[in-house]
Each structure stands twice: as structure tokens, then as C-alpha cells.
Amino acid sequence: MHEAQVRMKVHRADERIGAIEIQGELTGFAENVLMDSYAEASAGNPSAILLDFTQLEYMNSSGIGLLVKLLIRARRKDQKLLAVGLSEHYRNIFELTRLDEAIHIYGTQDEAIASLGGA
């Protein structure tokens, strides 16, 4: 009934950054979609993965768990995870769980790209 009410689009934000747009609900049901999108975004070994939460409708604790799993994979590849488009509520949640220390939050995609500094 509530399986995978989520869509994710992968594109290249920059030569060093793979981006994943998360649309809909990030819950436990989104695991496969998220991991597949991550694999796609990681093709060509970008140094960072940008998570775009602009069209996120809902995220629960299982969704947070997924982000943690994602972080674990990214760290193995020495990849940074960046986030844009979080609403005030979900920013609060990132701060609460200290996820924001591992996944840096930016206001815009440009800011996120700029944070990587020189190539």
C-alpha cells in the first residue's frame, strides 16, 4: 500500500559531483531506490554526492537510518555527502540527530559546489 512512494532522479551537477533528487517519501520502503540511485550517481567516481531534498514530502526515522547507511557507503569511497533543499523542519531533524555534521547542508546547489573549493 505504501511501498516506495518515492522517485529519485540522478544527474551530474558538476564533473566532481553526482546529484540525486529525492521526490516524495524517504522511509524504509525507499531503500532499494536510494541505493540504486546512489550507485548510478557514483558512476565515474565523483568526489561528492549532492542530495537534493527540495521535493521531499516526508521523512521518518527509517529514512534517517537509510541516510546513515548511505553515509557509510560514501565514506568507504571517500565521498562527501552534501544536502540542499531541506525545509526548516527537516533541517532541525538533521541537527537533532547530528546528521548535519556528516552531511553538510547548503542553501543552494551553487553554494554546495563552491564548498568543494578548487579541483
Binding site: I64, I93, L96
Partner: protein, 585 residues
């Protein structure tokens, strides 16, 4: 030679007249000397039909028009007489000497007048003149006859046309009367199908208004008392008019009533079945819009579904919203489906069901009343009772449309108002203050969901719906969603082990000071896990499972979490304070 003849002709115009060829030169001269010449301008009436005539004329120059029945609707031009022709000779034959027709000068004309007495004298001496005269007159008569016959033929055609037109007009009148009768019958059918009396439900006010338009009909409303004590409410509108529309309305109401007994617990099944039946039975192109609701008056629980009707309004102390459900009108698509929505009504809340007749009423400039005007009026009158609201809306409608407004569509309103805390009692302002309820806690909603993954979303939506009148800032609503979602998931997972047959009970309660959501599962004592605080770094390092964030969220999203173990299960109560000071960081 010719010139001389012309001269002579000029001198003696009488010479030119065929009638006088038998006269001798002397006689002609004699005649000529007795005859007077006159000259008349165009438009002069030489003589009128019916006048007594004692002379005839010869046209020397110009033209004279001979007209029968001049200046009447039967006016008939007979001839135009020119140079050398006689005018006014017919009266010679008439015993009464009456002019048989009128003579009018067409252009400047010179005439020679010949008194009858002179003609008589000529005829006495030259009888052949009498015969010539007779022949000439006979020719005149024929000429007159032909013209008359033609004239009569034309008249006949005109009469036939007029007769046909009259018959057609008559047929129209008959048809109009027949339609009028049919409309009256249709109105009677419709009236008979409407409830004769309103249901009486303790704690609720119900009021209705119904005013059909003259020619259009089709609005209807009905109530069904369900065996379990709930009340079914239906309002709708049949397209089309006259007897067919009235019959469709009757059919719809009886279909809905009958089906609701078979499917009292499934509103969508009722509408789907009604749609199947109507799609098959009603004339093509006819359809029925309809909004159905079932109210549990004790729990203040309402379920509803819509088949293309206007969205009813709900209000409480100055806030107005819609009851939103969508679906195709009945009778259009045989396999249409209808989603059912549910909500809890707050104490004192009111509902207005209506049809588009009021929305589409227009003022003198053809501007429509519109839904926003209706909403504003409901807001402004939200302190009134059901009947007062209806009269306010009606008087606003009447001032909007102005005098002489012709009602084009039925006007229909059904109002339900929850009345247990007496907020609508307006006996006097002082009494009203005293009657103001103590900070009673109001139960805004009380429902259960089965323990299946994903159902926490339903719970979230119902809780958010239940608090709609509390005017919580949106950031608090977001926190509430998260807290409720996590707490319900915990209840389903840890308490009920995701066993679908075990429900999670949720109760939403408000006092002026706080909002409380109680979430109860059927968990056994041993089922409560001892929660450990998750740590991100530990999880990232693989030292912990990447889970357990629910409790962190819950405890940080609300102001207080109260836990309670009862005989039947385990309850978590999420509390959010309602005053500004409790700004939760």
C-alpha cells in the same frame, strides 16, 4: 398637311376622341366651345369613388390614375389614363351616377371637361355614339374585373398565410401549456421525494432550505437513518429539467436509500453501485451530481464521498474550510470509483451542504455570487445557529441579486451544527458568557488503525485534520506529524508486532493549555524494548545498527511524552503546549 391637322387638333381636342368620329365639323366646333379646360397638379383627387359624377374628362396632357378603394387596405390600382383617353365615363352607366372608382392626378395634367348633358345631346343625335360608348364601357368593366380578380387572388394568398401563421402560433401556445403542466408535475414529484420532516438528533441542529426554480429542477436532499444509529446525508442535483429530470431524481434517491441498507459500512460501494445502476437506466447525457456523508453523531465522526457536487463547507469560530472529496457525477461513466474521506467534527462545528444555484445567482451586471462570497458569509455568521445562518445567507443573496431577479436554478441548503457545548446559544450575551464551557478537554478525534506498515501515514493525516481549528503554526504541525508518525510506528512494530488484526488506538484531545495525542497499542509488558540513545558516529563506524532514531525524534518534537501501561496495552501521550511561551527549541 400634317401641321395643319395638328393645329386643328390643338384647337379641337374633341376631334381626337374616337367616340366623336361621327360628329360633323360644326358639331365638333359647337362641342368644343362648350367644353371647359382645366389644369391640375400632381396629387389632386379629380374625383372620389362614391361621389356623384355629372361629367367626364378627356386627358389632353398628363396622366390620371384610376384607383379602386383608395386609402383602404383593399386599395387596388385599376389603370392609368394618358393623352386622349377618357376619365370618369363609367358613371354614365350607373343609375345612381356614383363614381365607380377614384381618379388621382399623377403628374401635371390638362383635362377637358365634358358634362353629361352634352354627351346626352350628342347621343340623341348620333346613336352610334351610344354603342361605341357601351363597347368602351364594357372593355372598362373587363379591365376592372381582371384587376379585381388578381387582387382577390393576392388577398387569398395573404389570408392563407395568415391562417397558417395563426395555426402555428396556436400550436406553440398549446405546447407551452403542455410544458408548463409537465413542469408542474415534475415539481410535484420532486417535492414529494424530499424529506417531510428533518431528523432529530440530540446535540445537533439540522436546518434546510429548498426553493426550486420555475423551469429548472433537479436539486434534492435526503436523510437515511442507519440501523447502527448513524445518519446518512445526501445532497445532489440532476441535470436536465421537466419530468425526466424529476424521475431521475426519484430514482437516484431510492437507489441510494436502498443501497445504503445493503452497504451501510461502505460509502464508496454505495456510490459505485448507484453509479452502475444510473449509468444503465437514465437517459444518455443525463447525470446526477451528489455528495454523500455518514455521520456518527456520538463520536462526531463523518465519512464522505463526492460525485461531482459542490464541496460542502465546514466552519468553527471564524474559520471556514471545505470537505474535500472528488469523483465523477453519477450516470456518466459506468465504472467510476469514489474515494471516501473521513474527519472528526469539533464541538460546535457546523456543516453547510449546498448546490450551485446559490453560487451561480447573479446580480444586475451578470456577476456571479461565487464560492468566495459564500465562504466569507459563512465565516461572518459562524456564531449563529443553523437556522440563523440560512436566513442570513438568504438575505445576503436577495440583496446581491436585487429586485426583479429571476431565479434560474434551484436554491438548496442543508446545515448541520454540532451543539453539545451550547456555543450557539445566543439568548443573551451575559448568559452566553456564563455558558462558555469550562476548559473541558475536547476530544477532537478518536480512531483506530490496523498495524500495517504505512498506516502511520493515515494516522498522521487524521491527527492533522483533527487539529485544523487550533491554528497551530505550520512548524508545529510538521513536528506533530513527525512525532505522531514515529510513535504510531513504534506502537505498530514493538507493541503489536505488525499484526494486522491488532489495532493502534489514537485519541486527539485539546484543552486551552495543551494538545495531547494518546497512542495506545496492545503490547505486553515484555514487549517494551529498553531504548538506547543512538549515536551517529557509532553507527557510521559500524558499531551500532543504523536505526533507533524514532524516540529521539519523538522526544524532541513535542513538549512532553507521558507513558502509561494499562490493562489492555501501552499508551504514549504526546503533549504539545499551546501558549506562546512554550517555544520548543
Amino acid at each position: 398637311m400634317r401641321e395643319i391637322e395638328e393645329d386643328r387638333a390643338r384647337e379641337l381636342p374633341v376631334r381626337q376622341i374616337p367616340l366623336f368620329t361621327a360628329l360633323s365639323e360644326d358639331e365638333l366646333q359647337d362641342l368644343n366651345s362648350k367644353l371647359e379646360q382645366i389644369e391640375l397638379p400632381a396629387g389632386t383627387m379629380l374625383f372620389r369613388e362614391g361621389d356623384l359624377g355629372d361629367r367626364m374628362y378627356i386627358v389632353l396632357e398628363g396622366e390620371v390614375e384610376i384607383v379602386k378603394a383608395i386609402d383602404t387596405s383593399d386599395e387596388l390600382p385599376l389603370a392609368v389614363r394618358g393623352k386622349g383617353e377618357l376619365v370618369g365615363d363609367m358613371s354614365l352607366l350607373s343609375r345612381t351616377r356614383e363614381r365607380a372608382a377614384s381618379a388621382r392626378i399623377v403628374q401635371l395634367t390638362k383635362l377637358l371637361m365634358i358634362p353629361h348633358s352634352e354627351l346626352d345631346a350628342i347621343i340623341r343625335h348620333h346613336q352610334e355614339v351610344a354603342y361605341d360608348l357601351a363597347r368602351m364601357l364594357s372593355a372598362r368593366l373587363q379591365e376592372s374585373d381582371s384587376a379585381t380578380i388578381k387582387h382577390l387572388q393576392v388577398k387569398n394568398q395573404q389570408l392563407t398565410q395568415a391562417y397558417n401563421d395563426l395555426k402555428a402560433a396556436q400550436a406553440q401556445v398549446i405546447e407551452k401549456e403542455r410544458l408548463e403542466q409537465e413542469l408542474q408535475v415534475a415539481r410535484d414529484i420532486q417535492r414529494s421525494m424530499l424529506p417531510k420532516e428533518l431528523p432529530s438528533i440530540p446535540g445537533w441542529q439540522i436546518s434546510t432550505f429548498y426553493q426550486p426554480a420555475r423551469a429548472v429542477g433537479g436539486d434534492f436532499y435526503g436523510f437515511v437513518n442507519l440501523p447502527d444509529g448513524r445518519l446518512g446525508i445526501v445532497v445532489g442535483d440532476v441535470s436536465g429539467k421537466g419530468i425526466p429530470a424529476a424521475l431521475v431524481m426519484a430514482t437516484t434517491l431510492s437507489v441510494l436509500r436502498g443501497i445504503s441498507r445493503d452497504f451501510p459500512h461502505s460509502l464508496s460501494a454505495v456510490l459505485e453501485r448507484a453509479n452502475e445502476i444510473l449509468s444503465a437506466d437514465i437517459p444518455p447525457g443525463t447525470f446526477v451530481t451528489c455528495f454523500c456523508a455518514v455521520l456518527d453523531p456520538n463520536r462526531r465522526h463523518l465519512i464522505f464521498a463526492n460525485a461531482g457536487n459542490c464541496l460542502p463547507l465546514r466552519w468553527l469560530s471564524g474559520t471556514v474550510m471545505e470537505l474535500r472529496a472528488t469523483g465523477m457525477p453519477l450516470g456518466l461513466m459506468p465504472d467510476a470509483t469514489y474515494g471516501v474521506q473521513e474527519t472528526f467534527l469539533s464541538p460546535g462545528e457546523g456543516l453547510l451542504f449546498y448546490s450551485d444555484g446559490i453560487i451561480e445567482a447573479h446580480d444586475a451586471n451578470r456577476k456571479m455570487f461565487g464560492t468566495s462570497r459564500l465562504s466569507s458569509l459563512v465565516t461572518a455568521n459562524s456564531g449563529s445557529g443553523a437556522e440563523e445562518l440560512i436566513s442570513s445567507l438568504l438575505s445576503e443573496l436577495h440583496s446581491y441579486t436585487g429586485p426583479g431577479w429571476e431565479q434560474e436554478d434551484d436554491i438548496m441548503m442543508v446545515v448541520l451544527q454540532e451543539n453539545t457545548i451550547g456555543t450557539v446559544d445566543k439568548t443573551s450575551s451575559v448568559e452566553a458568557e456564563r455558558a462558555e464551557p469550562e476548559p473541558a478537554s475536547s476530544i477532537l478525534a478518536h480512531f483506530s488503525i490496523s498495524s500495517q506498515p504505512g498506516n502511520e501515514r493515515l494516522a498522521i493525516e487524521q491527527v492533522v485534520d483533527a487539529v485544523r481549528y487550533l491554528n497551530l503554526p505550520s512548524i508545529k504541525i510538521e513536528r506533530l506529524r513527525t512525532a505522531v508518525g514515529e510513535a504510531v510506528m513504534n506502537a505498530m512494530e514493538h507493541g503489536n508486532k505488525y499484526r494486522a488484526n491488532l489495532p493502534v488506538d489514537i485519541q486527539v484531545r485539546a484543552t486551552p493549555a495543551e494538545l495531547a495525542v494518546r497512542i495506545t497499542d496492545r503490547g505486553e509488558p515484555s514487549a517494551i524494548p529498553t531504548p538506547t540513545m543512538p549515536e551517529l558516529e557509532a553507527q557510521l563506524a559500524g558499531l551500532e545498527e543504523a536505526r533507533g532514531w524514532g524516540l529521539v525524534l519523538i522526544e524532541n518534537m513535542v513538549d512532553e511524552v507521558r507513558k502509561e501501561r494499562t490493562d489492555t496495552g501501552y499508551t504514549v501521550e504526546l503533549v504539545m503546549y499551546r501558549n506562546e511561551d512554550s517555544d520548543h527549541g
